[in-house]
């Protein structure tokens, strides 16, 4: 049986009288996990718990099968954390700063320095490695933070808004780097991001947090799957109105899609079968240009999950 990467059991985190997490239960078996939630949802508290930096008021957090409260410091050797804000050691070169961070995780001095060079090359900062990090551009600093998270070769990579503030080119570059590390080297990824397309691209599992409660845990495909078996149908522009009327007459719920000529057909009690759609179109004399499952975008699914009680 494969080891659970992350296991939260009834996790309660309190700061004084404020409860940040209310008995959260969730299991992550590995791969890439997207952590979604609005500001104040409890993502940071969860992250602190995972890093073993905050003592749960109740419940437990297990990372790679070990309790963070008993093995917190040693577990942090196996976790690479990329914070949202800039975080670097000032007054020394980028490569020396990374080597120091690697040494803190038990690397010998020589290994740490070699590793720092390698990781900086990997993130594309090989040429700038002897510069003070404070002189780096925003994009370079983001990549430096990724290098800092990777320098001690963690088994789990925790990234907090890794593409924040990046221009499109740098964003694609950053996502590419993360994807390579996660998919090619088997490093489990936990990504907290407000940018849902990033989560969609990188993650296969999603947790949605809101006000300290876990709203959804499961695969990304599950979350964005067809709602009640709805179908997304595309017809000629001038056929939209007649097709809408024909579908309504058959007892289907019809929504106008975002793309011109697109309608979303659903039924409150049953799955809308493709054959039924074709039969409807044939009866109305309207040609169908395309039909597919009406999978929701992650954004829709995320908002719906938050709105659901």
């Amino acid at each position: 049986m494969s080891e659970k990467v992350l296991e939260l059991q009834g996790l309660v985190v309190r700061y004084g009288s404020f409860t940040a997490l209310h008995g959260v239960d969730a299991i992550f078996n590995g791969g890439a996990l997207g952590l979604l939630g609005p500001n104040g949802a409890g993502k940071s508290s969860m992250m602190r718990s995972i890093l073993g930096l905050v003592r749960p008021a109740d419940g437990s957090v297990k990372v790679l099968g070990e309790d963070t409260q008993t093995a917190g410091a040693q577990l942090r050797r196996r976790i690479g954390y990329m914070p949202e804000r800039d975080a670097y050691i000032g007054g020394i070169s980028g490569v020396r700063g990374l080597a120091q961070l690697a040494e803190l995780c038990g690397f010998q001095s020589e290994d740490a320095m070699l590793r720092a060079h390698d990781v900086l090359h990997f993130v594309g900062l090989g040429e700038e490695r002897y510069r003070d990090v404070s002189t780096y551009s925003l994009g370079m600093r983001q990549r430096y933070k990724l290098a800092a998270a990777l320098v001690h070769d963690p088994d789990i990579l925790f990234l907090d808004e890794p593409t924040n503030g990046l221009d499109p080119q740098n964003r694609v570059r950053m996502l590419g780097l993360i994807e390579r590390v996660s998919k090619d080297h088997g490093i489990h990824l936990i990504l907290a991001s407000h940018l849902l397309p990033d989560v969609e691209r990188l993650c296969n599992e999603v947790w949605v947090l809101d006000k300290g409660h876990m709203k959804h845990t499961g695969s990304l495909a599950e979350l964005t799957a067809a709602a009640r078996g709805a179908k997304r149908v595309r017809v000629e522009l001038d056929s939209v109105k007649p097709f809408e009327k024909a579908a309504s007459d058959e007892g289907l719920e019809v929504e106008i899609g975002r793309v011109h000529g697109e309608l979303v057909l659903s039924h409150p009690e049953r799955i809308v079968e493709p054959n039924a759609v074709f039969a409807l179109a044939q009866k109305a004399g309207i040609p169908i240009l395309g039909i597919r499952d009406a999978a929701r975008s992650l954004e829709d699914a995320f908002l719906e999950t938050l709105e659901a009680e």
């Binding site: 940071s44 992250m47 602190r48 890093l51 930096l53 905050v54 410091a73 040693q74 942090r76 050797r77 976790i79 954390y81 914070p83 804000r85 800039d86 975080a87 670097y88 050691i89 000032g90 007054g91 020394i92 020396r96 120091q100 961070l101 040494e103 803190l104 995780c105 038990g106 690397f107 010998q108 290994d111 590793r115 060079h117 390698d118 990781v119 090359h121 990997f122 594309g124 090989g126 990090v133 404070s134 800092a148 990777l150 001690h152 070769d153 390579r180 590390v181 090619d184 080297h185």
Partner: protein
Amino acid sequence: MAFRAAEYERFHGERTSRPTWIPIATATLARGWASKWVRRMSFLSLLMGFTIVVLLYVFNQIAPDWRHLVETAGSRVSEQNDGFRIDSKFYLHLLGIFVNPFVLILSLMFGHDLIASDLRTNAMEAYFSRPITPLSYLFGRTVAFVGFLMLATFGPIMLIWCGDLLFSEEGHIDDIANVPLGMFLSLLLSCTVVALMVQAITILTRSAIWTNLVFLVIFVMVQGMGAMLWGITDNSSFLAISYFHDTYVACAATLGELDGLTASHASAPLAFSVLIGLAVVSFSIIMRGLKRRSLLA
């Protein structure tokens, strides 16, 4: 030049379990040593010590019995018979040359930025997401800073001690045998107090400039205030509010020369209590600040 592949590779080497304060201390030493003014001040202090050693050598060459001559001359101009004798009490006078100026200067040039720099660049988040505790972090920083302070204070005093021993007659060792350990212990306490105080001020002000200003004001004002209160009340215990005075008394006590001091001074228990109290308060302030920051707030 070795070719490095720009692809990520897993690490298969060995990891050590050495204490995490060691990389912090070595990095702090490297950072301090990288400052040319810290280097200059450390060398200046050692150079001054070396100069005194050279003078001892020269005196010894010119007049081998110069120690006796100086003692005789001293007893004639002063009521104290041992006023000009080179014994462990003589080393207390060196505190004014090496401790008072260099502790202040090195603290202003190097110590002020130890934690302020990490706060400015948010390095705490990088540190504390790794297997390091606030105590290890503070210990590593303090060890390095105390190392610099000891180099500039204890270093030259030991140079002089070695020179003194080398160019002296037999039997002189009995007069100065307690100097290395006594000085080491008292200066270690004194430098640790300064190191903790500077870092505590840093964590409160979060700024290198403000740390320096506050540190300077505390040192200068408290020094003057102690002397003023002593002048007004004639109670020498007030002198204990001055760090330098406490250092002097602590050194005198560890060298066993407290009874021989002619100038008014605070009692040794009071001086030690003030130094230890300052260390404890500073330590508490730093730990509280670090623990708050280690939660990545």
